[in-house]
């Protein structure tokens, strides 16, 4: 699993465009604290941006919880996005490159998954979606 949660656990509500920017900044700060390389910082911030926008656009808003984690050997950043939106009916389809239900490029979920080390998607149709991602320092 993802190891123990370190200090600096922060929650950011996602209700508009500006919040997406705030999530990016929070994740950037956590990634720097966890000593991720510049490329890995960029990857996890980009993934967070995609997922935060998903939460906003498809989930109708929600929140992102950002924390640093430690598995004893390496440190990392963990971000959990949750919303109480309509949920995802077909997860496989949603994770397919190029599939979109909302006029985007269809790279949000599938692309974000490629940018992180751990990716967990929990969704219940009609109740909401939670996506948890972890990026470890190399």
């Amino acid at each position: 699993m993802t190891g123990s949660e370190g200090p600096g656990h922060q929650v950011q509500a996602i209700g508009n465009d500006e919040d997406v920017v705030r999530v990016r900044q929070l994740v950037r700060t956590a990634a720097v604290a966890a000593k991720l390389s510049l490329v890995d910082q960029t990857k996890v911030v980009t993934a967070a941006s995609e997922l935060a926008r998903n939460t906003l656009v498809y989930g109708g808003g929600g929140e992102a919880a950002v924390s640093t984690v430690d598995n004893g050997v390496r440190r990392g950043v963990r971000v959990v996005f949750s919303d109480s939106g309509p949920g995802i009916a077909d997860i496989d389809l949603a994770l397919t490159d190029g599939y979109t239900s909302g006029g985007g490029l269809g790279l949000g979920l599938s692309g974000a998954r490629r940018l992180v080390d751990e990716f967990e998607l929990d969704t219940v149709v009609g109740a909401g979606t939670t996506v948890a991602v972890v990026k470890w320092a190399r």
């Binding site: 490329v39 004893g72 050997v73």
Partner: protein, 281 residues
């Protein structure tokens, strides 16, 4: 397995009553298998430090190695294991130094002459010392892993020079087996060199690479794509026939990426393209 409170107390008492004798015997037993690589005095300093911390933990009522009472003991164990790992001792040699306490306790505590209770105590203490040994084993492995990572990072630094060959042309000559981690480092360095030198051409020379697998080929492809996104062109040179066969057999699409037989051909190509651009402009 945790000690019973009274067993912890009795171990503490034995350690404090016979402190010097145990300390001396522990140091001797611990040093024996190290065959002079550590003197009795040196190994004694380490075991005595452990003994002091162990004593403290037991006085504070520690019955296992998890609680806050043993934090310092754990720190000392970690320090010892880390030091041994750096000095090139094996994990067994390190753990044996800790297990030596069992011999010392057995002899000094005169377990053989004791009753059933004494024997029970000794079994429980042994289990506790095993816990210390395992902890040091873990710490040792972590330290070794750390050393290996450090060394491989240093190796990476050495093995991936990015050089400026010409005005506007940088090159990275790859030598040896390319694993995924190294390919990634090469990629990042090459791209950074493009920015630093303002070079629109990059040559990846793989003359010295004996074999490529799908993953490495993918990394090279990704580098080329990333360079394009940044506005630079990559040329791959020195592809050997076997590697060309692998690339085709693996079904990897090199598409419209420029490939040249030698580094010299690639450089000529880059300079020509660069000049063509300038003449037009």
């Amino acid at each position: 397995m945790a000690l019973k409170a009274e067993q912890s107390e009795r171990l503490g008492k034995l350690l404090s009553d016979r402190s010097e004798k145990i300390s001396k015997r522990w140091a001797e037993v611990a040093a024996a298998p190290l065959k002079g690589r550590l003197t009795v005095a040196e190994s004694g300093r380490q075991t005595t430090e452990l003994q002091v911390q162990l004593q403290k933990s037991l006085n504070d009522g520690a019955t296992n190695l998890d609680g806050p009472q043993t934090a310092e003991l754990r720190a000392v164990l970690t320090e010892l294991s880390r030091g041994r790992a750096r000095q090139g001792f094996t994990a067994t040699e390190t753990a044996t130094s800790i297990f030596a306490l069992k011999t010392a306790l057995y002899e000094i505590g005169e377990v053989e002459k004791g009753d059933e209770k004494a024997l029970r105590d000794y079994v429980a203490w042994s289990a506790f010392i095993d816990e210390l040994g395992l902890f040091s084993f873990e710490a040792f492995s972590r330290a070794r892993e750390h050393i290996i990572t450090e060394q491989s990072e240093q190796l990476l630094e050495l093995s991936t020079p990015v050089v400026k060959l010409w005005e506007g042309v940088v090159a990275v000559p790859l030598v040896g087996t390319l694993d995924s981690a190294r390919a990634q480092v090469v990629m990042e360095r090459l791209l950074q060199a493009l920015v630093d030198t303002g070079s629109p051409y990059a040559i990846i020379d793989i003359t010295g690479v004996p074999a490529v697998d799908t993953q490495v080929a993918q990394h090279v492809l990704k580098t080329v794509m990333a360079a394009r996104l940044m506005g630079a062109e990559c040329i791959i040179s020195g592809i050997r026939p076997q590697i060309a066969q692998t690339i085709v057999a693996l079904g990897i699409e090199f598409g419209d990426i420029a490939t040249k037989a030698t580094l010299a051909d690639a450089l000529r190509h880059a300079i020509r393209r660069g000049n063509a651009g300038k003449r037009e402009a």
